[in-house]
Symmetry: C2
Subunit: 463 residues, 2 copies
Amino acid sequence: MTAPSRPIDAIYSQLETLFGARVSINAGVRETHGRGEGSQLCQPPDAVVFPNSTDEISRLAKLCHGAGVPLIPFGAGTSLEGHVAAPMGGVSIDFSNMNAILEVHAEDLDAVVQPGVTRKQLNAHLRDTGLFFPVDPGADATIGGMCATRASGTSTVRYGSMKDNVLAMEVVLADGRVIKTGNRARKSAAGYDLTRLMIGSEGTLGIITAVTVKLHGIPETVTAAVCPFPDIESAVNCVITAVQMGVPMARIELMDAVSMAAVNAYSNLAYAEAPTLFLEFEGAPASVTEQVETLKALAEDLGGTDFQWADKAEDRNRLWSARHTMYYAGLALRPGARALTTDVCVPISNLSDCIGRTHKALEESALTGLILGHVGDGNFHTLLLFDPENPAEVEEAERLNAAIVDQALALEGTCTGEHGVGQGKTKYLRQELGVEAVDVMAQVKAALDPTNILNPGKVIPKN
Amino acid sequence: MTAPSRPIDAIYSQLETLFGARVSINAGVRETHGRGEGSQLCQPPDAVVFPNSTDEISRLAKLCHGAGVPLIPFGAGTSLEGHVAAPMGGVSIDFSNMNAILEVHAEDLDAVVQPGVTRKQLNAHLRDTGLFFPVDPGADATIGGMCATRASGTSTVRYGSMKDNVLAMEVVLADGRVIKTGNRARKSAAGYDLTRLMIGSEGTLGIITAVTVKLHGIPETVTAAVCPFPDIESAVNCVITAVQMGVPMARIELMDAVSMAAVNAYSNLAYAEAPTLFLEFEGAPASVTEQVETLKALAEDLGGTDFQWADKAEDRNRLWSARHTMYYAGLALRPGARALTTDVCVPISNLSDCIGRTHKALEESALTGLILGHVGDGNFHTLLLFDPENPAEVEEAERLNAAIVDQALALEGTCTGEHGVGQGKTKYLRQELGVEAVDVMAQVKAALDPTNILNPGKVIPKN
């Protein structure tokens, strides 16, 4: 008995002609391209290619378009919702060879990069220019992947998300046509916003092959602080007031008492095990001093009396390391566990309520969960620790995730603030936006990818 | 001989049933809805309706979708590129009855408004909350119209354009379906960015019936200044350096020597008739003082030695009135003339070059032109004064506009920074973005409006 033929079989020899040694069907290579960092199972592609150029990707798309072979872009593999997996097989496009910084225009505060450039690589390259790229999702993701998932993170309260920090892209369409979505002008009203249409489309409308990003001046002064509060509501109220007053905070993060206990244990620290804000201020010196004084006064009014400030880079790094090691500190609470990471975002006036309900749900559950959030945006994550070998725990983690999404939607929020839809959130899309809006997404998808070869099974619900 | 039947004739009695006295075929009403404030000729619709609700617009769309009758949204009629005209007849939708501010969420810094609300109306309503809506295109446009054209203006260098200040919209589709494009969460990665797809689509993909806008805290301190420079290059270099240093200027506008002479004559003022920057700074007091000192030092290094500062509101208003009366001051240079307003935007390092070439083209032309710009964004306008009754002058104004667009595109810019495509810029779209990108726009348009009833003849080039 022979294996059933797959669409890729018809074109595999042409893939070899096109990519030579840069196409692989090695099981290990396929498996490392079959999942990101989320809790989903591995879904390996049929093959992995390592293109060197836009032209190769255009030729690949033409080939796969004709044969109905799925194409799945793969950056750093750090996504959390099953974006890079291949549930329908096909070809994974690994961008590791396309990692050149093509142009830096310091006077114009922009740069043109290939999609495989990571954010840390870009910022290392920019160091001597006095400029930086601000979007920071935590992981050292690629710029292409960050565009695809509309990534944001700790600095979004000040600098916005990927949708705010990309001027233009080069994109290969399903049939191999290559478009540019804009140019280096800082703004434009020239037709439909194809740049924003592609950002967050998760590889389902086109394959990003170059990105023009906005850069920002490295601030003259940076100061960080931590401050514990008597309860989450006080911490959130402090943030609401500061945002309303227009204090231009660079970062403002919340960790709950369980999270603080986890980092204390993991890194041998002695922070108060209470809801805590991590803050960062930046700008010219007098402005930073003014921001710090304002926040200190606001916090004190709300019971946040034990501020710890850090001006020096090493002190700041030590302080923020508590925040940045959070994921591993959480996992260390239960060796062998995996984390399902929730990602809801609500209007900030509903944030205390939403986090409060989440706490209650965690108290009533057998699973341990930790809460941390980009509180200036109303976005928080719950790390739900579960044993992947225990079906009851897997089910309980999924039940909690669904309950947290339900309550966020009831509070005028979204099921995903920054991680994207992938496979994990397709089932909530109609509940959040309505049947008609998701139908419009499907109409746009059908118009641009009529044979559904671009990252199929992602974003658009199957039925 | 009877007049040829038009698509609207088949549904007119149903329009009367639906709108009663709120449908008009009066010639005067049709003519006031047949053009905006641009230099194009009037193209009146067949009828004008004044809906009261989203539901009425949904029923209107179903009717017109079936009968192939064009639908043209009409806000304040302040657009400049023929967006609101009806080159193929049809029904103009006047939003003046849909001008309610539905919700203000001060804690969340957002508000939900009907599309006919104007920006000044919104800001008057918000005054007691300490919040404001920042996008300022000059004219008192409606929020719906500003979404449709992706408007920006003097405050964009600090607060962004409409694409940056809208969280979600309610939109009626061509076939009458109603969608919401998002919710009040500050950020979301839940599927395709339908909000940004609709912003800048100029009524060709859907009819905006409600808008959730972002609000900002009114700054504690505001200071304005004017400063003449020896030449345009020095003025632009001052701006580039300040932007690179991250000075968070609220507004930074350039007027050329001809413009300054025009406002001096029009308002009996005595400004230096030299390239001049108009600046505004805002924030907490120490931050504003710091910004002012930085800019003053930068300007002095570049020959801008005659700063005039204005702290008080009345002094600021007097100073900015020179900038705001610019359009009328320009027209007053030649009574009876009309102005064709160009709208290119280039990377800021190419701005001196682009403005310099524009100056040269004006010197070689018989027409008078004035240059003013949102220089922090690289966007500038040329007011080309011409006699609308003189075909040679009309042709010369159009030739100059085309030449300015050509040079902006050669300098990596866009044909429209903020006025939109409408009818006036369709011919440049392929030159700017390429045939394939415009094909993608046409594919999206065909998917969402297969019978082409939504504002036909706008954005997408005819052939």
